[in-house]
Structures are given as C-alpha cells and as structure tokens.
C-alpha cells in the first residue's frame, strides 16, 4: 500500500535554478493537492486538481506551476527558485466527495527543499 509517494525527499537548489517535485498516488483518487509548510507553521495550499487536465490555484500559487496529465501524477514545478521557497512541500490526494459528504486527504511524507 504505497498511498501518496513524493520524490525526492530532500533537495538543495541554488537561486534561479528550476526543478520538479514529483507526486504520485495509487489510490485512484480524483483530487490532488500541493501544500507548503514553513518552520513552525501550518500548511498552505499552493495548487490543487479535481481531475486529469484540471488544476486551480490555492492560497500561495506564485512562483509555482502544476500539471495533471494523468489521475496518478501531479508534479509541482519551480521555475526560478528563490530563498522564500525554502520549505517542506506536501502532496495529498482524496476521493471525489459524494453528495452531502466530504473526504479526508491522504498525505505523502514531504519533500524538504532548501534554496541557497
């Protein structure tokens, strides 16, 4: 039972470099999410997707891009890394909510990213 898998677990980038954080889930969940968590803080939503080909901005989307070409994968791209993007990034997924109900999210173990 892999659940939500994030790679890499750790990465150090130089200012201005780009990279893609990978996220894949094997639970056939329609909804996927990207969060960032700064030290001592809660999680803030960056982007989310309700299905393949559909993405939408969350609370803090600036400096990031996403794509959702398959149900399983939801990569997050940083085009021009900045020190303010040093954080721990979490990917999550959830089933499509039913009528009059809500579905909890399943999280990966995160990618710790440092930008120097």
């Amino acid at each position: 039972n892999a659940g939500v898998t994030q790679t890499p677990k750790f990465r150090i980038l130089k200012i201005g470099q780009s990279m893609t954080l990978q996220c894949t889930q094997d639970m056939n969940h329609n909804y996927m999410y990207w969060y960032r968590q700064d030290p001592g803080m809660g999680l803030k939503l960056i982007y989310y997707s309700v299905g393949a080909g559909i993405t939408d901005k969350g609370e803090v989307p600036n400096g990031y891009n996403v794509s959702r070409s398959t149900t399983e994968d939801f990569p997050l791209r940083l085009e021009l890394a900045a020190p303010s993007q040093t954080s721990v990034y979490f990917c999550a997924s959830s089933p499509r909510p039913g009528q009059g109900s809500n579905q909890p999210q399943h999280f990966g173990d995160g990618t710790r990213l440092s930008i120097l």
């Binding site: 939500v4 909804y31 999410y33 969060y35 968590q37 001592g40 803080m41 809660g42 999680l43 803030k44 939503l45 989310y48 309700v50 559909i54 939408d56 969350g58 609370e59 979490f90 999550a92 959830s94 499509r96 909510p97 039913g98 009528q99 809500n102 579905q103 909890p104 999210q105 399943h106 999280f107 990966g108 173990d109 995160g110």
Partner: protein
C-alpha cells in the same frame, strides 16, 4: 473562509484523556470539521471528521455543539506516542470543484509526559 482558533500547545500525562478545542465562529452551512495529526518529518494524518453532534472512531471522538461554532477533539487514555501537532480544519471540498477551507492553522502542539 472559516477561520479556526486553537491553543498553541497543551501538556498532559500518559493515561489521561485529552480534549483539544477549536473555535470556528464563521463556519458555513456546508462546512465539515476535520482533525489531522502530524508527527515531525511526516505528512498530516487524518484522525476524525464530523458535521454535527458526536462522532467516534477507534482512536478519537469529536464533539460538535448545536451551533457548530466550536468543536472538541477527545483523545482517550493518551500515550507518549500521541505527542504531535493536531490541526483543526473547517471547510468543504466541493464535488463540483472548489476547495474552501484547506488552509491549516498553526495547530496545537500536544506534549504527553510519562
């Protein structure tokens, strides 16, 4: 967007019952109340979710008064392994798209002592 308020930290001892209260005065009619637990270097883990009254599962209970402006997570007979950060989320993931209330606050750091 319903805003939540929780205590920053709480202490308790092994074997005690712990109650963590979350205030959400602006909760909307469609909002659900969801609690997550997070250990260091791990992603949050779902504990329990409710809409009104009381919900119980194998690890916790969730009490929601009639006005739904607050909720209380109850952890029975805690152990050292329950030391973690607990987050209260209020919102809804709409079936037609839209994800309101998916911002985690700072949470409550629960420390369990022997």
């Amino acid at each position: 967007l319903a805003k939540t308020t929780q205590p920053i930290s709480m202490d308790s001892y092994e074997g005690q019952e712990v109650n963590i209260t979350c205030s959400h005065n602006n909760i909307a009619t469609n909002d659900y109340i969801t609690w997550y637990q997070q250990f260091p270097s791990q992603g949050p883990r779902f504990i329990i979710q409710g809409y009104k009254t009381k919900v119980t599962n194998e690890v916790a209970s969730l009490f929601i008064p009639a006005d739904r402006k607050s909720s209380t997570l109850s952890l029975p007979r805690v152990s050292l392994s329950d030391t973690a950060v607990y987050y209260c989320l209020v919102g809804v993931i709409a079936s037609g798209g839209g994800a309101d209330g998916l911002t985690f606050g700072k949470g409550t750091h629960l420390i369990i002592q022997p």
